[in-house]
Each structure stands twice: as structure tokens, then as C-alpha cells.
Symmetry: C2
Subunit: 246 residues, 2 copies
DNA sequence: CACACGAAATCGTCGAACGATATTGACGGA
DNA sequence: TCCGTCAATATCGTTCGACGATTTCGTGTG
């Protein structure tokens, strides 16, 4: 298992990172940051699967960066819980069992509710309302297209918009969104169509409450959203949560 | 300013880190982890102050580690918001303004309340009750001793105990405790004696609710604790929050 | 077939090096 | 005297090569 992009590329054995690309704020991202983002993106797109072993020589060659920069990136991802580092055994994409996922939901929920309340209180300009509505529409479109990578990207963008508008930047740091990407990537391929649609529809309700500047409804919509996700998790079959020990 | 440990040591120009020390679970900590912990500890103890410039050559010499390991550690701390990295200008201990602190409190509060509820639900054994009571008593003792470094260490241990007992390890990852250490270190020297005592007394009330397995009271006690802290922040003079731009 | 042994693979850490950028201070002209 | 320009320095970002430590795995032996 887990050798999807293994043989995909052979020539041009370097740099599939967006070299020296600016990071939204004009500053160029460091090599390690680009690696982190590439791996995260790879997880969302399904190129990296939970449990997969990340080999340093392989990655340095494929990404065209030095071992030092790669190790910085892996360290960063390990701190975020995206990869697990085993001394002398290497890095693995983390695997979440059912309890971890439920714990993650318990942790994320109050933060998401806070974020939604703040966004609802703070969504004052037309540009902000537009941004939320576009983000929600994008999620909806990706859901209908059944494009899993796109869906996870846009889900992330939705949260980013909500947090931005809310204006509490500490929240952006604390919310375990990357770890949630991991869990979503693990679940996305297994859940039923109905569960997928149900989950996607939650974002529209949250958006509605936010653009109407209704913090109470926004809070409630997020709560319902999480309750639904919990229900889905309970319904998932055991094989959705690999038990293979690291 | 901020050169306390500068001249303290002259010979044995290396390794004030606990070499190869085990990290509670038997595994030896990596060099970068030891550096992170040393810097964090230095912040709590006051050896590093917000705004201080961290020079790589200086730190590698003082800590006795390579530049690569140091940079891994700085990257980690930057991700946690403890230090700020400026491209080609180096690393600085982060500085929190009043809004950031209030945002941090808003973010931390729901997580702390969740942690307290879980701990209250889960505090079943005598050992667990004992651990909470000892942690609370330790905070109290450090407060009376007016030992700021000790107080911050034990405050951290209190939260660790609460989270451990609660059993939700995602919470441990998400709670911005290190960033709170930063804010506490910034505030600790400025707040009045009354404010200090008031804050410290909150932990006893939280502990009481937890050992009595009363989640509702635990939640309420944490809420009151945070309300008190917010009040303190509002009362603090402007000079408690450096505005010197990085 | 179980077990010991050794080779290969991989990781953790270090040291040196080079280019890129910010900061600093000197210099000269208005 | 003051201010702008330019070179020197300090520091960072990144890469490369090297060494020891540890795990993993294949092989030979009893």
C-alpha cells in the first residue's frame, strides 16, 4: 500500500515545489515551509495516505531540497500531529483511530463555534459577506464534482475565511485544522454519499448565519454540524480506522 | 537588556541541556527538543524576555549544539508562536500586545473548560485526585514564595495533570499553553499582589470541582478564572504590552 | 525451524561552506 | 551640518558531506 506517487515521476528529478513563491503576505516561503505545504497538499489530494512511511532520501530527491530543510519540515509537521517521528525509524503519516477522531472533534468544536460567533459579529463589509458566500459555494461545487482533493482544499479555505473575518489570530494558531485534514482524508473515501452531502450542507447553514450577523445561530449551526460529524464517525465501519501499530 | 545568562558560564562552554535525558516515556529527546524546552524554561524563568533577539551563533555556542538542530528548534517554537522569525534578521522572542492576549484568552478558555469538564468526569482513582491536589498545592506554595519561575512551571504542570486525567490527547496538542507561558511571563512582574493572589486562588476552586467529579462546577470555575484574568488584563497599564515593532 | 550474526538502510547530529539579505557606518555633496 | 549613497559586516537560508547510532533484514549455522 501507500506507494501512489512512488513511480509517478522519474525524470526531472527535482522541485515540484513552487520555488520562491510568495506566501500571501509577500514574503517568500522558506524551503521547509514549501515542503510542509506540499506534504499537506499531498495528504488532501490522497498522494500520501495515513501510515505511509516517509523516507528522507526519497523525499529530498523528489522535492529537490536538502536533508536539513526536509527535517525542519518533518519536525514542523510532527509538532502539528500530521506525521509521527520514530527515532531511527523515520517519519510516518499519522493514523487516527476512532477515539482520536472523536477527541479531535471535541477539541475542534468549541474553537469552531468561537470562530463562527466572532465571524458573525464581525462580518460587516460586503467583501466579507461575499468571501464567506463564495467559500461556501466552492465547497458545494467541489462536493457535487466529487473531487475529494478540491473539496478538502476548499473546506480549509472556508475555515480560513471564517477565522480571518473573526479577527482572532490566536484561533488560527490553535485550531487543529491540519490534523482535521488528515482525518477528513482518511474518512472521505469511506463515508456514504448521504453522509458526504449532509456534511457539506452544514457549511451553507453556517455561512447563512454569519452573513446575517447572527452569532447565536452561527454557534448553533456549528454545533449541529459537529453533532452530525460525530454521528457519521460512529456509523463508520471499523476498517476506516487502521489499527496497524507504528 | 536581557543578558542574564550571558556571562554566567565561562568554562565548560557547552551543554547546559540535560544530555540524552529521557522524556518521561523512556525515549531520549532529540537535540532540538531539548533546545525548545530549554528556551521555554528560560522564558518562564525570565532568562529570555519578550522582544529579545536570539542569535544563532550565540545560542549554538551556549547550548552546545549544531546550527541545524538549533534551527529545527526555532522553527518549532515559531510554529507555536513563541518566537518570531524574520527572514535574514533572525529570531525574536514574541511579544504580545493587549489584543493578542485577550484573543489568546478567548481561545484558551473553551479548551480549558473542556479540559476541566473531562477531568471532572474522569477523575476516578485516588492517584488522580492526589495528583490534582498536589498540583494545586504546589501552585499555592510557589505563589506564596513569590517565585515566578517556579509558579509558571507548576501552573504548566497543573494543566498537564488536568489534561492527562481528562484523557483527550488532542486537547494537549491544541491548547496554546506555551504561548500562555509567554503572556504570563510578560504579565507576572507587573500585576499587583492582589491580582496575583486572586489568579492563583482560581486553581484551588477548579481542583475542588474536579476531585468532586462535578463537571458543571469545574466548567464554571474555569470560566470565573478566565473572567478574572481578563479583568486583570484590562487593568494593566499600557507599558505592560511593549509596542516596539519588530 | 529457531537463533545468532553481519550487512544494508536509515536516522540523528555535526561542521563547513556559499549565496542572499539586512544592518551599520563611512563618505561625499548640498 | 544634514542627508543620501555606497561599501563592509553580520546574520540568515540552504546545501553538502561526513560520522556514529540504531533498526531492519537476509543469511548461515546448529
Amino acid at each position: 500500500m501507500a506507494t501512489s506517487m512512488k513511480t509517478a515521476r522519474k525524470s526531472a528529478a527535482a522541485n515540484e515545489l513552487d520555488d520562491g513563491k510568495t506566501a500571501a503576505d509577500g514574503t517568500v516561503a522558506s524551503a521547509a515551509d514549501r515542503v510542509s505545504e506540499t506534504i499537506l497538499q499531498g495528504i488532501r489530494a490522497g498522494a500520501f495516505v495515513p501510515g505511509q512511511h516517509l523516507l528522507e532520501p526519497d523525499l529530498t530527491r523528489r522535492l529537490g531540497i536538502s536533508r536539513g530543510s526536509l527535517r525542519e519540515a518533518l519536525k514542523h509537521l510532527a509538532a502539528a500531529g500530521i506525521v509521527t517521528l520514530n527515532r531511527f525509524r523515520g517519519a510516518y503519516i499519522s493514523t487516527l483511530d476512532r477515539k482520536s477522531v472523536l477527541d479531535l472533534l471535541d477539541t475542534l468544536e468549541p474553537l469552531a463555534r468561537l470562530g463562527a460567533r466572532l465571524a458573525a459579529e464581525n462580518c460587516g463589509t460586503d467583501a466579507q459577506r461575499k468571501r464567506m458566500q463564495v467559500a461556501a459555494a466552492n465547497i458545494d461545487a467541489a462536493t457535487r464534482e466529487r473531487n475529494r482533493g478540491l473539496y478538502l482544499d476548499r473546506r480549509r479555505q472556508f475555515y480560513d475565511a471564517m477565522i480571518d473575518i473573526g479577527g482572532n489570530m490566536e484561533l488560527a494558531r490553535a485550531m487543529p485544522l491540519s490534523r482535521t485534514d488528515l482525518f477528513r482524508a482518511q474518512v472521505e473515501t469511506i463515508q456514504t454519499e448521504r453522509q458526504r452531502m449532509l456534511h457539506a450542507s452544514g457549511y451553507a447553514k453556517i455561512t447563512k448565519a454569519i452573513v446575517e450577523n447572527d452569532p447565536v445561530s452561527a454557534d448553533k449551526a456549528v454545533k449541529k454540524h459537529f453533532d452530525g460529524t460525530r454521528k457519521t464517525i460512529h456509523e463508520l465501519p471499523p476498517h476506516a480506522f487502521p489499527s496497524l501499530e507504528i
